[in-house]
Point group: C2
């Protein structure tokens, strides 16, 4: 049953209790009121009647944006729900927008499925829904359908959100992780590790004073600008869980190239560098929610870099390395101290529930 | 990050531990192995290399099925995970297929996002993934992209799954909950309440001997046959959470008609009837996972009924009532005892975590 099902009703329901009860998941009146009051009023305050139980789009209208439909999903279980620079709602919208955008798609529509623990405050849900709505609106994306489930106390930790996105890839865009070639520049759009560091600080187990903000942001406009300036860009990946180390390994392995990065070129905030030193974390594995790694052919590196730097979300862009014809799949780093070490995929756990 | 991201790798990884650890959610090597071993090997055993991080479909190919794209999502938190007649995997695939099909869409592609509790047995996950894969395959639908998250022990109850589906609506199909007209027949495709009763029995809190099987099934072929035989069908709804009572109220309210049903005409298994009597439950509110409610114009009722009955999933089809021009939005029932009572939307909670 879709959360937006009751939209055709004449009057939106209201919730009259402070917290979610199991009745809010039962499929009846209480659920309808919860959905109306919290989600529908946030996602579609003005134009609720255009929304449908099942969202429907004209295929001919979609085809005006390009020739391929892109489809991607992500579950968000971040803990805590609110952190400096964002919250689970903003994260759930930006994360799926970015998953569409890194494939070259114009993000258009999102669905949203929410699992809620009994006892969760209605006010908290309202904040999350408003955050999703605002993030989607400012990104030009619509949340068009959804679902809510309520589980008994203790059966989930407050709120989990799954967003699924559809977008359209323009005809001339062709990005693929297997397309990196020796000589390509490896670029990032700014400071790394802020999201991972922000979440870890926000958990409050560490007596650290710095408040690092998550970099959580929707990157589709930045990516659009990049692809106009450097249309030969081979591939783009968002460096979320597993950090840039994981993305670089995936690129190197899929493309059959080596990648060598330069530790001195990696943009890191001083606080994040210090934070990693204190905790023994490697910033290459820290999660980001507003950072992409790009492989760009040599002749377009300058155009790519200046375009990224001209955008607010790419001001800190940098060339961090090069693809080469060394051992296929091997990622290495020139260290500060003049050595060279292998950068492997993350083995084991870095931080649970980072997104 | 999508669960199918590592598909381009040459060798699928293997999980070498019996249960899921937090490392399996970290974005690195362990996560890749879990996804490869459990999900990729189930969803795409033969042709893994065709799958992409982000699923992509040719819009022109989609347009050969119809003119509108349908998009719907559902979270599944059913407890227990395995029950007579199904499991959370089968339910998650059938539920989203049905949500597409009741809108007239041909279901084509699904995404799947899984939240897993630390400590969940790998073997259990494998069973769930195999069940999803088999259900999808026999329904002619592909699971094309996904995501996994792992949360610490106690932060979710074993496994939650969100499936999102896309399908295409043929040009001549136009179904809408606001289309019911006075005189329309209200049909169902068989015995009601089996899913709700099955789950409640499977929880084992009741010392009941009967083992009622869930009716969990993919109904798109049945619906396709119905729409060919009765193309004037006004609307179709799956009677999941909230049962047929909720669906009938939604239809009556959205269409501005009254609906009157006949208690004697409602198909119920004796075990379910007895079960409801013992527990004081109203079968009209019991959840179904393989039952639809249809409003069919008078001249097509016979064709609809015989078509439904000719299909294995519609053998028990029945006309349960009529739409009328009484009070708009009002649903009533002629009882066994000759009375007439109002059938309201479900108020409060019936059964938590039924789907």
């Amino acid at each position: 049953m879709n959360i937006l099902k009751p939209l055709r009703k004449r009057v939106l329901g209201r919730v009259h209790v402070p917290a979610v009860t199991l009745a809010h998941g039962g499929g009846g009146k209480a659920m309808k009121d919860l959905i109306d009051d919290v989600f529908v009023s946030a996602f579609a305050p003005l134009d609720a009647h255009v929304l449908e139980d099942q969202a429907r789009f004209d295929l001919a209208a979609l085809a005006r944006h390009g020739d391929r439909l892109a489809f991607t999903t992500d579950a968000f279980v971040v803990d805590p729900l609110f952190f400096p620079g964002g919250d689970i709602g903003k994260l759930a919208v930006c994360g799926t927008i970015n998953d569409l955008a890194v494939g070259g798609a114009l993000p258009l529509y999102l669905s949203c499925a929410v699992v809620i623990e009994e006892g969760t405050k209605i006010e908290l849900l309202r904040q999350v829904a408003m955050s999703m709505a605002e993030t989607a609106r400012s990104a030009g994306v619509s949340i068009v359908t959804g679902d809510t489930k309520v589980v008994q106390r203790g059966a989930c930790d407050k709120v989990f959100i799954t967003t699924t996105g559809i977008g359209v890839i323009p005809q001339n865009v062709s990005l693929g992780i297997e397309g990196v070639r020796p000589g390509d520049g490896i670029l990032v759009n700014g400071l790394l590790g802020d999201h991972g560091a922000s979440i870890l600080c926000a958990r409050g187990d560490l007596a650290l004073d710095t408040e690092i903000e998550s970099d959580c942001a929707a990157l589709h406009e930045l990516i659009g600008a990049l692809l106009r300036a450097a249309p030969g860009t081979r591939c783009i990946r968002d460096a979320t869980r597993g950090g840039i180390a994981t993305v670089l390994n995936e690129m190197a392995e899929a493309s059959g190239v080596s990648i060598d990065i330069d530790e001195a070129a990696i943009p890191l905030r001083d606080e994040v560098r210090g934070f990693c030193e204190i905790l023994g974390l490697d910033p290459l594995y820290l999660a980001n929610e507003g950072k992409i790694v790009m492989a760009v052919p040599p002749e377009e590196i300058d155009a790519a870099l200046s375009t990224l730097r001209a955008h607010p979300l790419g001001a800190g862009a940098a060339i961090v390395g090069r693809a080469g014809s060394g051992e296929a799949g091997r990622v290495t780093m020139q260290t500060f101290f003049g050595g060279r070490r292998i950068v492997d995929m993350l083995v084991g756990e870095q931080l649970p529930r980072i997104c």
